[in-house]
Each structure stands twice: as C-alpha cells, then as structure tokens.
C-alpha cells in the first residue's frame, strides 16, 4: 500500500502536470471571473466563496481521468488486481494520492486566491477548513467516476457528467460554510455536514469503485 502511494506520488512529480496543472487552472479560473463579472470589490467579495469552491471542484475534476486510465493502458491495473492488495485498498490509496497532488495544494493556495477575489477577512480560516474537509470527498467521488469510466473511449467527458452531480452536496455545504464565515455567522452546521459527507464517502465509496473496476477489468 505504502509502495503504491509512493509510486503514484513519484509519478505525479516526474511526469509533470500533477501538482502544477490543477493549481494553475485554479489560478486562471479565479483570474477570469473578475473579467466576467466586473472589477467591483463588493460584487467579487459576495461571490468569492462560491467561485473559490467551484474553482476547486473544477480543478479537481481536471485530473480525475488519470487516476486509473494510465494504469489501465499500461496493464498495471490488471497486475494490481491480481496482487495481494485488496482492490478497495488500491482505490483508496489512489484517491489519497490524487488528493495529495491536487486537493492539498488547492487547500493551501486558496487563501491567496481569496485575496484576489476580495474575500472578506473572517472567511479565510473557514475557507481553508471547509476545503480541507471537503476536497477529500471530491477525490474519492472522482475516483468512483474514474473507475466507472476507465477503458471507455471518450471517457473524460462522460466522467464529468457522472461526477459533477455527485459533487452537489459537498459544494453546497462547503460554499455555505465560507459564505457564513464571510458574513460573520456561525459556519458550524454546514461544516459538520461537510465532514459527515466526507467521512461517509471515505468509508463507503471505495467499495463501489472497486466493484466498478472489477467489472471494467473483465
């Protein structure tokens, strides 16, 4: 398991595109929004929580299809499925690697992009906390979508169609927590919901993903 995690991280660093790409996409997205809605600080401040969360979600989506597709192409997935690791564990580890490569950098750099969007001061800790609680769910759900669409031609587009509706609850609670933080209200309730979704998804989705992978390996 540890070996798999190290391999995936090493591949992400060496093959390039892993760490940098999602972050650059996030930056571009947050740069484009003011062009679209106008530079008034008030407007930006009001929509900043939503933009930051939607941006994180889309950046996460960008690299999802790589979770299993590369391993499927070169045959590693067949070999991993016959290895002594449980496939559920493989899925969980690969989702963890995806989170470390895309989710974690987003959590760390989101406050900087919050500055660009005039995010109100009190919201920053909640932005970081809500992203830290929510992005693991994005990776795990994304791994499910990737497992379902692995080996399909035109899988990437389908992947977004399958995964984005699954992101709705996470997005709602995540952005709501930041919004409440921004206006000085108590963001406790949405944060608790967010944590509950993430924990439930972490516990259950690897089984669904592994089942889908087994079907696709047949």
């Amino acid at each position: 398991m540890k070996a798999l995690l190290w391999r995936d991280l090493r591949l992400a660093v060496r093959a390039g595109g892993g760490f940098g790409l999602a972050l650059a996409f996030f930056l571009i997205l947050c740069t484009l929004v003011p062009f679209g809605v106008g530079p008034e600080g008030g407007t930006l401040a009001r929509i900043a929580p939503g933009i930051l969360w939607v941006g994180a979600l889309l950046s996460c989506l960008l690299s999802l299809d790589r979770i299993f597709a590369l391993d499927h192409e070169d045959g590693s997935l067949d070999l991993l499925a016959t290895a002594p690791l449980p496939l559920e564990g493989v899925v969980a580890i690969k989702a963890l690697a995806h989170w470390l490569v895309t989710g974690l950098p987003l959590v760390i750099f989101a406050p900087v992009l919050g500055l660009l969007l005039h995010l109100p001061g009190p919201a920053y800790p909640w932005l970081v906390l809500s992203l830290a609680l929510g992005t693991p769910a994005l990776s795990v759900l994304g791994a499910f979508g990737a497992a379902v669409t692995v080996g399909l031609r035109r899988g990437g587009l389908l992947l977004s169609l399958l995964v984005l509706p699954l992101y709705v609850p996470t997005l709602i609670f995540g952005a709501e927590a930041v919004r409440r933080g921004a206006i000085g209200a108590d963001p406790g309730t949405p944060l608790l919901f967010l944590a509950a979704i993430t924990l439930a998804v972490l516990a259950l989705m690897p089984f669904a993903s592994a089942a889908a992978l087994r079907v696709n390996l047949r």
């Binding site: 499910f144 399909l152 389908l158 509706p165 949405p190 919901f193 089942a211 889908a212």
Partner: protein, 241 residues
C-alpha cells in the same frame, strides 16, 4: 409460479405482449379523460387558469421520481439475481423517466412565469428536479458508452445505487441551501385537505393515466431492448459459426 419466472426473456415477451395493449389503451383513456376533465375545472380564485397545469405537472413529477425508483429496484435485482430482463427494464425506464422530469421542469417554468414572475427560480424542489435530470442524463450516457452489455448493466447498476443516495442527499442539501417559494405537497394523506375535490379527482385520474403511460412506454421499450439484444446475440453467433 413465482414472479421470477418473468425474468426469462421468452416468458416476459409473451406476458408483456399480452398485457401491453390493455395498458396502452388504459393510458390513453385515463390521460385523455383526466386532462379533459382537468381542463373543464373552474378557475382557481387566486391562480386563475394557470392552476390547470397541475394536471400535467404533478403526474409527471410523480413519475419522474417513481421512474428513478423503478430503475433502482431493477438495478438491485440485476446486481443480486442477475436477471437480464431487469437490467434491460432499468435501461428502458431511464429515457422515459428523464422525459417525465423534463415535462415537470418545463410545466413548472410555464406555471412559475405568471405566478412567481420568473421562468426559473432556484427553489429547492425545482433544483432537486434539475439535479435528478442530470442523474438521468449521466445514467443514459453511461449505458450508451459501454460496449459490452453485461458490463454496461453492472456499471449502470452501481451508478444507480450511488446516484440514488446522492440524489436524496442533494435533495436535503438543497433544502438547507435555499428555503424556497414552492408550495408544499399538493396532495396529502394527512387530515386537513389542501386541495378542493374539484381539482383532486381529475388529478387522481391523470396520475393514473401517467402511471399507465409510463408503464406502457417502459414495457414497449423493454420489449424493444430484448429484441435488440436477441438480434445482437444471433448476429454474434452467426459470426462465430
């Protein structure tokens, strides 16, 4: 004689072929009667003539949800008992359910324009239906994308299970997100009538009509899918011989 006998494609084809004309006929009669009766109801003192759209809106919304529920049950039967007909029935129900969802959304918009003064409102109920529609689209797209029929049935089955949980979760998340304008349930078994009998009985009739319509369409589509599968199987056998 157990219900699983109908999992045999041949028996299903025979039974559904016998039942289909009656279901289709019943659907036509009930839909026409229910909608005509609904059209002749008096105008509501507050909503005016727009109230009459509920005879389309409510039954369609009902079947949109029940369609997904049927897909869920059929997917479970396929995943647990591997009855091929049930997988095809789930596949057949998806487009019908998606269209029902679309009808509910469009009639809702048409009604909302004069009533709320806007075509679209991010109201929890409307939003949940939009999300349901997205789930339908994803499900249909996945069926279309996977080439091997057995794998497609398995993958869509798993997606349907996961999607059901998340559709429900989204429903409550959306409630939390926006309290909404939509009126409460139109019909309720609880005492304290919300709706006068003038509207209620034609509504029941068109609900029955929509249910029969849904059933007829799903039966027809399932029969088509079975024939298509049979054709593919015979062709595959031909190629190997």
């Amino acid at each position: 004689m157990s219900i699983w006998e109908y999992a045999n494609p041949v028996k299903f084809m025979r039974a559904s072929g016998a039942v289909l004309p009656w279901v289709a006929g019943g659907a036509v009669v009930c839909c026409v009667a229910g909608l005509a009766w609904g059209f002749l109801t008096p105008q509501d003192y507050r909503q005016g003539a727009t109230v009459k759209i509920i005879f389309l809106h409510v039954p369609a919304a009902l079947m949109a949800i029940n369609g997904w529920l049927m897909m869920l049950v059929m997917s479970l039967i396929w995943l647990v008992r591997r009855h091929h007909v049930s997988a095809l029935a789930a596949k057949a129900a998806a487009p019908v359910g998606a269209v029902m969802t679309l009808i509910a959304l469009i009639t809702g918009a048409i009604w909302g324009q004069p009533m709320w003064g806007t075509w679209w409102e991010w109201d929890p109920r409307l939003t949940s239906f939009l999300i349901l529609f997205l789930f339908y689209l994803g499900y249909i797209a996945l069926w279309a994308a996977v080439e091997d029929a057995d794998s497609a049935a398995d993958l869509t089955g798993v997606l349907c299970l996961v999607g059901s949980v998340f559709a429900l979760l989204s429903r409550y998340a959306v409630n939390f997100w926006n309290q909404g304008l939509h009126q409460g349930a139109s019909l309720s078994v609880a005492p304290g009538e919300r709706m006068s009998a003038v509207y209620k009985y034609p509504l029941y009739l068109s609900m029955l009509g929509f249910f029969l319509l849904f059933l007829a369409l799903v039966l027809l589509r399932t029969r088509t899918e079975i024939r298509r599968r049979r054709l593919a199987a015979l062709l595959a056998r031909e190629n190997r011989a």
